[in-house]
């Protein structure tokens, strides 16, 4: 039934599984790759493999991190020394992979900002106004998708608050039903016993926007959370 050679069929199928790529786009990409030099496809293949091999989740905050232990080695070498303990290569890290934020000594290690996904870390980093650490949950409580607290990095957050000297946890989940519920769960069920200060991201108006264009709910939230000026 397949109209193309098997390898092309397989590639189209694989590409078609990517988010935002439909059958037509998958086909176009596959035929493009068929035309280009082998060097170019190799570079793409390497990039994909390196990403999976070298990028991992930070053992502390679950943000994405580069596994430098593997990165310093040559590809051939690592294949030969597979099973070798990585700890010897980076002294002091005890085999743990930490992200660039967790290893940055300039960050305020007393504040943790809790977000849903690594991309949310990037969003908050772009503000340039936050100097603390992060904790990525890797999802939200969503029973309809079968996700409960156990599937998230909530236990790990509790461990961090217990073990590290944390003074404030800022809950930055999305302001929708599941995000709010997750934040409520963390605040009331997980962090309450520690007596740590727990704050929630405010909801309000976009800067530079016009009141008249704001939707009623956002405007209502902004009114609820108004600030005293004098």
């Amino acid at each position: 039934m397949s109209a193309y050679a098997k390898p092309v069929e397989v590639l189209i199928d694989e590409l078609g599984r990517l988010p935002g790529v439909g059958p037509k786009s998958a086909q176009r990409i596959a035929f493009h790759l068929l035309k280009v030099d082998a060097v170019d496809t190799q570079r793409l293949a390497d990039a994909l493999q390196d990403m999976k091999r070298l990028v991992t989740f930070c053992d502390r905050c679950f943000n994405i991190a580069e596994d430098t232990a593997k990165g310093v080695k040559d590809r051939e070498v690592i294949d030969l020394t597979l099973g070798d303990s990585d700890t010897s290569l980076v002294p002091g890290s005890a085999g743990k992979v930490l992200c660039s934020i967790c290893t940055d000594s300039n960050r305020d290690s007393k504040v943790i900002c809790v977000v849903e996904e690594p991309k949310d870390v990037q969003a908050i980093e772009r503000t340039g106004g936050y100097k603390g650490l992060y904790h990525v949950l890797l999802g939200v409580i969503n029973p309809l998708d079968g996700v409960g607290p156990e599937q998230l990095k909530i236990k790990e957050l509790a461990h961090r608050v217990a073990a590290e000297d944390i003074q404030e946890v800022v809950l930055c989940t999305n302001p929708n039903l599941e995000g709010e519920t997750t934040s409520a769960f963390i605040a009331s069920k997980v962090l309450a016993p520690f007596g740590v200060k727990v704050t929630r991201l405010a909801s309000g108006l976009p800067v530079g926007g016009d009141l008249e264009y704001a939707d009623e709910i956002t405007l209502g939230k902004a009114l609820e959370g108004r600030l005293t000026m004098s």
Partner: protein, 359 residues
């Protein structure tokens, strides 16, 4: 808003048709199957962007054509308003005064309608869900900003039920803690919705009595009672019922189990009222909602009565039509209306193709 002129293009049975409407009572008279209800459906679509009969959008487009167009020229506070809807199998769009609406929500309120169709008898005869929906729809028509409250309650309930299905008979501490959080949210939103419904019921009681008594020319008393399905605070009730919920794997307490009890002289209307009384009650519920919208919004919604006369005797038909709320009304009927009623406009021509198209 008052509709002055309605044009239909490839809409259901109409390839091209124009109807002129008057400000008061418009009567559409014609034999069965000629397309009277289609006119009601078209006006209703301009208000809600869906069929009041629950028909799929594809059914609204005339067979063998790509898209249907409904155009209404109306008047609001002395200014002309043009609402156009293009219905196609792909994306339908609406334009108000030639401006495309970005969100369908923006349309809400441009044209308010109250519809009564024979199926609305189910309001009285069937289970409580239709009556809850009647209250919730009315609350939304009065204040579209409440939409997130209702959808949030709906989703919280779905999430909680989904969690209950995953929980084992002997739930662990983590599962119970998660349930706690959903309970709290469910209770908060649930109490809000119940408060809204209760205040609506209080507002409706005098209006429904007035509507019913005028319609039937009796002095029977209609009672509306909001029956909450739990006692005390919702949060406590939900927590108390936890074991039961886990066993049944469904949320047993909450506004989704409430009832709006409708009585006639103290007797429950669902089981004890006659067929005719039930019809009059259903109609009165709609008229009362219509009156409340008028009171609150300062402008009467367009009242659409589809084929109601067939179910009323002449006295009640006169009682209804001569006591209509102020504003524009459109009524369809297969038979001539009673002589005691003087309509402002009668539509008997359903022939397609206006003169311009012959040109």
């Amino acid at each position: 808003m008052i509709i002055r002129q309605l044009s239909l293009h490839n809409f259901r049975s109409y390839s091209d048709a124009q109807f002129y409407l008057a400000e008061g009572l418009n009567v559409v008279v014609g034999p069965n199957g000629i397309g009277k209800t289609n006119i009601v459906e078209a006006i209703c679509y301009l208000s809600r962007l869906k069929s009041f009969r629950g028909a799929p959008t594809a059914n609204l487009i005339a067979k063998g054509t790509q898209s249907a167009v409904i155009r209404a020229i109306g008047e609001r506070q002395g200014r002309e308003v043009l609402i156009e809807a293009e219905i196609s199998s792909g994306r339908s769009k609406v334009l108000v005064n030639k401006q495309v609406l970005k969100r369908t929500k923006d349309l809400l309120g441009a044209l308010q309608v109250t519809v009564f169709a024979p199926d609305d008898l189910m309001l009285i005869k069937e289970g409580p869900s239709g009556r809850r929906e009647y209250l919730d729809d009315l609350a939304l028509a009065l204040d579209p900003n409440l939409e997130p409250t209702f959808s949030s309650l709906d989703r919280t309930l779905k999430q909680r039920n989904s969690l209950l299905k995953q929980i084992s008979y002997k739930p662990d501490e983590g599962e119970l803690a998660t349930l706690d959080v959903w309970d709290k949210r469910f209770a908060e939103t649930g109490e809000k919705v119940v408060a809204l419904r209760r205040s609506l019921v209080a507002d409706l009681v005098p209006l429904i009595n007035q509507a019913y008594q005028r319609l039937t020319t009796t002095d029977q008393v209609v009672g509306l009672a909001y029956q909450q399905s739990w006692d005390g605070e919702l949060f406590e009730a939900v927590q108390k019922a936890r074991e039961l919920d886990i066993r049944r794997k469904v949320t047993t307490q909450g506004p989704h189990r409430d009832e709006l009890l409708i009585t006639l002289n103290g007797f429950e209307s669902r089981n004890e009222a006659s067929q005719g009384e039930q019809r009059s009650l259903a109609l009165s519920l709609k008229v009362a909602a219509h009156q409340l919208l008028f009171q609150r919004l300062g402008e009467p919604p367009l009242l659409l009565l589809d084929d109601v006369l067939s179910e009323l005797d002449d006295d009640r038909a006169v009682g209804l039509l001569n006591n209509l709320p102020k504003g524009q009304t459109l009524i369809t009927s297969a038979t001539e209306i009673p002589n005691l009623v003087v309509p402002d406009n009668v539509i008997t021509e359903f022939d397609s193709l206006s003169e311009a198209d012959h040109g």
